[in-house]
Amino acid sequence: MTFEREGPLSPESELELVQQLLAGDERAIRNLYGRFGRPVFTLGLRLLGSMEAAEELTQDVFVAAWRKASRFDSSRGRLSTWLMAIAHNLAIDRLRHERGAGRPVLVLVDEMPEPAPSEEESHLIDRETARRALSGLSATERQLLTLAYFHGWTAREIAEADGIPLGTVKTRLRTALIKLRKAQQEQALEEARLYDGGVL
């Protein structure tokens, strides 16, 4: 099977791509990198604060993806979700390990520059979807998510720092993530409609 780097993958194609990755197929590795290398690198840069750390993280993420490929379950979510979870977890592990030593400058989720004009449309749509989803969160929810996602603070740490009950923090985090997911799901349906209609 030949995988195109652009355009959404069906669950079957995602599974096959992961199986090819597991087998060490170089084309599959390149395909996966082509689709997700940039967001993984971006996340690394934002969380870890340096090009070098982001490059190391990106390599580690794809090796980890190969190592865990036999456990990818398409019924539990998309390939992008799985891979970005690996990326975020590895970055947070590194961040928490280095906690207290030269913390990087963080970009808050609502401080984002305008996209470059040469950007591929599929990436634009993904990001625009996510931006709109984030704008649907309350200021408190955005702040909590920033502390958890970008700082790696646990719910307990956030609760202690802000002086709010632990249960409240957990509930708000959950609500924020569910809102994000719902907004993305609605946009994904719209995107699929546009893709099938030949607009994309």
Binding site: A23, G37, S80, H88, M112, A148
Partner: protein, 268 residues
């Protein structure tokens, strides 16, 4: 953990903020709880959307070949280390027989002449090999060609001339099989002898008890692993890193590392 406790932790699980122990507990629960698994999937999608919202930074050009090189090297190292692709059941049986035969040739000196003893032992090994080959044949007939095959050579912690072979087979629908054959002089008073599957995290699942055959080897053939693997503390076949044989005191007698074969066996 109960469903309530797991759901209380699912947001932090999705954000990668749990301790290793809590992470393992949650993952273990998610293997068998569809409701919590559904919620976990939703929260993970929410988390992924945060990453996607970031303005993209362009990775340097050399990063792609570096990534490809590292993953290819890792995959290649595993193949070199013995995780061979395309090894068929027959080859695995041959390997098992070869292990037994090699062990037999190296067995030690007794009261009778060395030549007589070697001849006796070789005969015994031939019988044992034939027995194991027959077991392999029976095992093979019942396998689904779409499953995953694993193999381990078992080595004793004391007497070097003894040992065993294990084969594990995981079917696509989650059913699992294990076949173990051990050639060893086990102290019967220390029995029963249990075969444990050991995960990468040190988790142990008792696969069964070895039965002594007329040929004086010990065999375990288990076809119903999933009944145990559905327990929250069960071990996933794909996560099994090693096998061990222990006596009733918990003393480890034999141990071996599990290797996964990527290619599935041919349809019988």
């Amino acid at each position: 953990m109960t469903c309530g406790e797991v759901r209380d932790n699912l947001s932090e699980h999705a954000l990668g903020l749990l301790t290793s122990e809590d992470q393992r507990e949650v993952e273990r629960h998610l293997r068998w709880c569809a409701g919590c698994r559904r919620e976990s999937a939703e929260l993970l999608e929410g988390v992924a959307s945060v990453a996607l919202s970031l303005p993209p930074a362009e990775p340097p050009m050399p990063l792609e070949p570096q990534v490809v090189g590292r993953v290819s090297a890792a995959a290649g190292r595993v193949r070199t280390r013995g995780y061979r692709r395309g090894i068929k059941m027959l080859a695995a049986a041959t390997l098992g027989a070869a292990v037994l035969a090699t062990s037999a040739v190296g067995w030690g000196v007794r009261q009778r002449s060395q030549a007589e003893q070697a001849q006796d032992q070789l005969q015994t090994v031939k019988l044992r090999t034939a027995n194991f080959s027959k077991l392999i044949g029976q095992f093979k007939q019942q396998l689904n060609s779409a499953g995953k095959l694993y193999e381990a050579s078992l080595f004793p912690l004391s007497r070097r001339e003894e040992g065993g072979t294990a084969l594990l087979y995981g079917e696509p629908d989650g059913r699992g099989w294990v076949l173990v054959d051990v050639v060893a002089s086990l102290d019967q008073s220390a029995g029963p002898f249990t075969v444990n599957l050991v995960s990468a995290t040190g988790q142990r699942l008792a696969a069964g008890i070895l039965t002594k055959t007329q040929n004086k080897d010990y065999v375990l053939l288990r076809r119903d692993l999933p009944d145990d693997f559905t327990r929250p503390d069960a071990v996933e076949l794909s996560n099994v890193m090693a096998l061990e044989v222990i006596d009733r005191f918990g003393t480890r007698l034999l141990t071996g590392t599990v290797h996964q074969f990527v290619k599935t066996p041919p349809t019988p």
